[in-house]
């Protein structure tokens, strides 16, 4: 293949994938900045969004946009429920404890998906028109993915900057106790944060289902990529999460294209471990891991 074509194709894939990852990563970052634990079940919220939309739009043949929005709402509600039941009681516990709980929820979600939809790989099978650009193929679905993800990120940015709830969210994620002192209802804001993060995750799931395929185990690789992206971009920074997501998409696509496609997930792991190690050597702690 002509090198320009290859480059353009890779760039297109990266932008599309990166956009979807960014939605997941941004939601994850805000939750992590606020509650400070590693949330493994976030990847399965993506999966659930993908499957719910699949069920409504493809199996029951409802309107696609309606199904996606409904899926986002349902997943958001589930996120709020999970937070109330599983994480709120653990706010004063060590950071490892909610991580274990999140692994538990991830397991439950995976089991539920298996029960309802079986272990097979599914696709949305929505036809999309391919457009040729410089010899590379963009599908209209991919363009939709990019527009939706970038649009949502922009909407989120405006929401966080301009609306009262958005500003409250930033306050809470910055410093929970200080926000409580100045009178913000932290519980309600945290619930909203979970709702927004879960909704974004569900949207990412819809986009992934649109362009790629879905399977019950998809949650785990997604959360690994998210962790890698967030660690790269700086834990707690939304812009960092977005940039990190595109970097992960870049490395993954390059690795799959030029190295070994079977190790697709391994590239994200490698980056995650490398990023963590780099941070560890520069940050407090150094050679020893600390209990702080």
């Amino acid at each position: 293949m002509d090198p320009t074509t290859v480059v353009v194709q890779i760039i297109i894939n990266i932008v599309a994938a990166g956009g979807a990852f960014a939605l997941v990563a941004v939601g994850y970052t805000v939750v992590h900045a606020t509650l400070k634990f590693i949330n493994f079940q976030h990847g399965y919220m993506v999966a659930l969004g993908a499957y719910l939309t699949y069920q409504m739009a493809i199996v029951w043949k409802w309107n696609f946009i309606l199904s996606s929005v409904l899926a986002m709402i349902l997943v958001a509600a589930l996120g709020v429920l999970i937070e109330k039941v599983g994480y709120k009681p653990l706010r004063r516990a060590s950071r490892l404890t909610p991580l274990l709980v999140s692994l538990g929820f991830a397991s439950i979600l995976q089991g539920v998906i298996l029960v309802f939809w079986g272990p097979a790989v599914q696709t949305y099978r929505i036809p999309s028109t391919p457009i040729i650009v410089l010899g590379a193929v963009i599908t209209s679905n991919e363009i939709l993915m990019v527009l939706l993800s970038l649009g949502s990120l922009l909407a989120l940015h405006l929401f966080l900057k301009r609306t009262k709830l958005g500003i409250a969210m930033r306050a809470v994620s910055d410093n929970l106790d200080a926000a409580a002192i100045i009178g913000i209802n932290t519980d309600r804001v945290i619930s909203s944060i979970f709702a927004v993060a879960s909704a974004l995750a569900a949207l990412a799931g819809v986009l992934i289902g649109l362009e790629y395929f879905i399977q019950p185990t998809m949650g785990f690789p997604i959360i690994i990529r998210t962790l890698a992206a967030v660690t790269l971009g700086g834990i707690g920074s939304i812009t960092g999460a977005i940039i990190g997501s595109f970097v992960i998409a870049l490395v993954e696509n390059l690795g799959v294209w030029f190295l070994n496609p079977a190790y697709r997930e391994a590239y994200a792991y490698l980056i995650l471990i490398a990023a963590l190690l780099l941070r560890a050597s520069g940050m407090l702690g150094g050679k020893r891991d600390r209990a702080a």
């Binding site: 634990f37 590693i38 039941v85 599983g86 009681p89 653990l90 004063r92 516990a93 060590s94 950071r95 490892l96 404890t97 991580l99 274990l100 709980v101 692994l103 538990g104 929820f105 991830a106 397991s107 439950i108 979600l109 995976q110 089991g111 539920v112 298996l114 029960v115 079986g118 272990p119 185990t217 785990f220 690994i224 962790l227 070994n260 079977a262 190790y263 997930e265 391994a266 792991y269 490698l270 995650l272 471990i273 963590l276 190690l277 560890a280 050597s281 702690g285 050679k287 020893r288 891991d289 600390r290 209990a291 702080a292």
Partner: protein
């Protein structure tokens, strides 16, 4: 029926080795070493290769466990640079990378890669054939008990006091002169050694080794089992393994179709993990409320 029971008990014995050693690492030393599936896998694959090459079972067992321990040593260098939850994530990452490596590379070495290794020979120790279920059960039971005794002796010894000190306050333990890092490495190697043994037993029992047996689901299983009774209880770990194996199997008797067993196992594991932790935290915070002024 008794065949089914023996099968379950064999599984319990093998898993109990995993849960007991994990209890040592997580409950007693405070190290969330999530690389456990990798150590199990390395034990299973190595012993399968060694056995298939014609070596006697005991040799395969010891070699596989040692290879696993060495991999833990190597892994400890980058992994121990992290604190708590990031240590967990890094070790989990290693576990998955090992699994992916086995998935993709074992085709090169004479097994069918994606299909896994088939036809691992049944153990033959000093001329005694262990291929019957009852014999294999006896074998796993003996090994499980040996591991139990070793671990119990370990944790009630001065060594056990040091690792508990590391769990409770690592900085203080460091200050009083204990090389905490080397204790942590050792404990990880012990974990890996025993998981390697369990892996060898597994490979020779199921006679089929495949990467899907070593996913993070296994880790959640071990976590749930260990947390169920008390993560710093070796004995509790055995009962935890028993419960977590038995519960999904009982679903079979309630008429649950075979295809849902796997999914129900995941749901049971997850629910157990979440519920136990929440209940623990509830009782812990009640105590807190009485003591502090918060």
């Amino acid at each position: 029926m008794s065949e089914y029971l023996l099968h379950i008990l064999i599984l319990v014995n093998i898993y109990a080795i995993l849960t007991m050693s994990f209890s040592l690492v997580l409950g007693y030393t405070g190290l969330p070493c999530f690389a456990l599936p990798a150590f199990f896998a390395i034990g299973a694959y190595s012993s399968a290769f060694i056995s298939a090459a014609g070596m006697p079972f005991l040799l395969a067992l010891l070699l596989a466990a040692s290879i696993s321990a060495i991999s833990a040593y190597i892994m400890s260098f980058p992994a121990l640079q992290m604190r708590d939850e990031y240590f967990a994530v890094v070790t989990l990452g290693f576990s998955e990378m090992v699994r992916l490596a086995f998935l993709n590379e074992s085709a090169r070495y004479g097994s069918a890669g994606d299909v896994g290794i088939v036809g691992v020979p049944t153990p033959n120790i000093f001329g005694l054939d262990f291929s019957s279920l009852a014999a294999f059960f006896g074998l796993t039971l003996c090994i499980m008990l040996v591991v139990y005794i070793v671990l119990m002796r370990l944790v009630s010894s001065p060594y056990g006091r040091v690792i508990r000190a590391i769990r409770d306050d690592e900085d203080v333990t460091d200050v009083i002169g204990k090389d905490t890092r080397s204790y942590k490495v050792q404990v990880m190697m012990v974990l890996a050694f025993f998981c390697g043994i369990a892996g060898c037993l597994w490979a020779h029992y199921i006679q089929y080794v495949h990467p899907t047996q070593f996913t993070p689901d296994l880790l959640v299983f071990v976590l749930a089992s260990v947390v169920l009774f008390n993560e710093n209880s070796i004995t509790g770990a055995i009962f935890g393994a028993m419960f977590m194996v038995a519960f999904p199997e009982m679903m079979r008797f309630f008429g649950l179709p075979e295809s849902y067993i796997g999914a129900s196992r995941l749901i049971i594991l997850g629910t157990t993990l979440v519920t136990i932790i929440l209940l623990r935290e509830r009782s812990r915070s009640m105590g807190r409320r009485n003591v502090s002024a918060s």
